[in-house]
C-alpha cells in the first residue's frame, strides 16, 4: 500500500504561521470539525442527547467553549462542532454514537482551512476584510460573513483573538487577503 503523507490546506507538511507586525496568523490543522443539524422535529431530543454527551449547542450567532467539544451556531437548529484532532479524528462516528438519530452529522474537517488570528486588537484588520463590527461584538460571537468574495465563519475569542474557517480550496487566497489587509494596517 502506498505511503501517503497528509498535507495541510496550504499544501505543506506542517501548519503555516505568518507574522506581520503585531499580527500572527496561525493555520490550525489540529481541529476536527463536524456539522450537526437537528432532524425535523427532533430539536428537543437533540438538546437532551447533546447535554448528556457534553456537546454544547449555543444560541444564535455564538460560540461555546468546552472540553473536548466546542461548538458554534451556523443556522437555525444547526451547529459546527470542534474537537481536538488527535483524540477525535473520527469525530463523526463519536458524535453519531452520542446523538444517535436526533441529528444529521457531516464530516467537515477537510472542507475548511482554519486560521487563528492574534494581535493586540484585530478591529482595524477585520474592518478591512468584512462587514462585521468586530469591536462591538461580544467575545464568543460567531457568524458567517464574506471576506474577499469567500464565505467564511468568524469566531471572536477576544478583542485580539479570532478564528476563521474558510473554504479549504481557497486557503491561499484567504491567507493572501488577510496578509494584504494586515500590510495596510501595520
Amino acid at each position: 500500500m502506498a505511503s501517503l503523507q497528509p498535507l495541510t490546506a496550504l499544501g505543506r507538511r506542517e501548519a503555516t504561521t505568518v507574522t506581520h507586525g503585531p499580527l500572527t496568523i496561525s493555520e490550525r490543522t489540529d481541529v476536527a470539525l463536524a456539522s450537526v443539524a437537528a432532524r425535523n422535529g427532533r430539536a428537543a431530543d437533540l438538546a437532551k442527547a447533546a447535554q448528556k454527551a457534553d456537546v454544547p449547542l449555543p444560541g444564535p450567532a455564538s460560540h461555546q467553549q468546552g472540553t473536548p467539544y466546542s461548538a458554534f451556531w451556523t443556522a437555525p437548529e444547526m451547529w459546527f462542532v470542534e474537537a481536538p484532532y488527535a483524540s477525535h479524528e473520527l469525530i463523526v462516528d463519536l458524535l453519531k454514537s452520542a446523538l444517535a438519530d436526533t441529528a444529521s452529522i457531516t464530516e467537515q474537517t477537510d472542507a475548511w482551512v482554519a486560521f487563528d488570528l492574534s494581535a493586540h486588537d484585530l478591529t482595524r484588520l477585520l474592518e478591512r476584510l468584512c462587514n462585521v463590527d468586530f469591536a462591538a461584538r461580544p467575545t464568543g460571537y460567531a457568524t458567517r460573513t464574506v471576506m474577499e468574495h469567500l464565505g467564511v465563519y468568524l469566531i471572536k475569542h477576544g478583542p485580539g483573538a479570532a478564528r476563521l474557517y474558510g473554504p479549504r480550496s481557497s486557503a491561499e487566497s484567504l491567507l493572501h487577503a488577510i496578509e494584504t489587509a494586515a500590510h495596510s494596517v501595520w
Binding site: P60, A61, W73, T74, A75, P76, N131, T143, R144, T145, V146, G151
Partner: protein
C-alpha cells in the same frame, strides 16, 4: 437598506439574495387544483405599488429563507419572518 433578521438582528441587505413574491410558498397541487390554477401560480404575479411580501435568502449569513414585508414605493420594511414559520402557519408541510 437594512433587513432586521428575526434571529440575527439588523443585517445589511447586501448579505441577502432576492427571490421574489412570497406567494411561491403557496404552490397548489397541479394534479388536483387544475392547470389554470397552476399556470397562475407559475406565471402570474401581482405587482403592487405598496406593501409586498417577498422571499429573501440570507446567502452571506445563516442561509435562512425570510419573508420580508416591504413597501415597494418607499422601500420601508415593516416585517421580517422566517419563511419556515410562515410556511408552517399556512400549514405547508414541505
Amino acid at each position: 437598506m437594512i433587513i432586521h433578521h428575526p434571529i440575527l438582528g439588523p443585517r445589511d441587505a447586501q448579505e441577502f439574495v432576492y427571490l421574489g413574491d412570497a406567494n411561491l410558498i403557496d404552490r397548489p397541487d397541479g394534479m388536483v387544483a387544475g392547470v389554470e390554477v397552476f399556470h397562475d401560480y407559475l406565471y402570474n404575479r401581482t405587482n403592487p405599488a405598496g406593501e409586498h411580501q417577498e422571499l429573501w435568502y440570507h446567502e452571506q449569513g445563516d442561509r435562512s429563507w425570510l419573508v420580508v414585508t416591504r413597501n415597494t414605493v418607499t422601500h420601508e420594511i415593516t416585517r421580517v419572518e422566517l419563511a419556515r414559520d410562515v410556511a408552517r402557519a399556512r400549514r405547508r408541510t414541505k
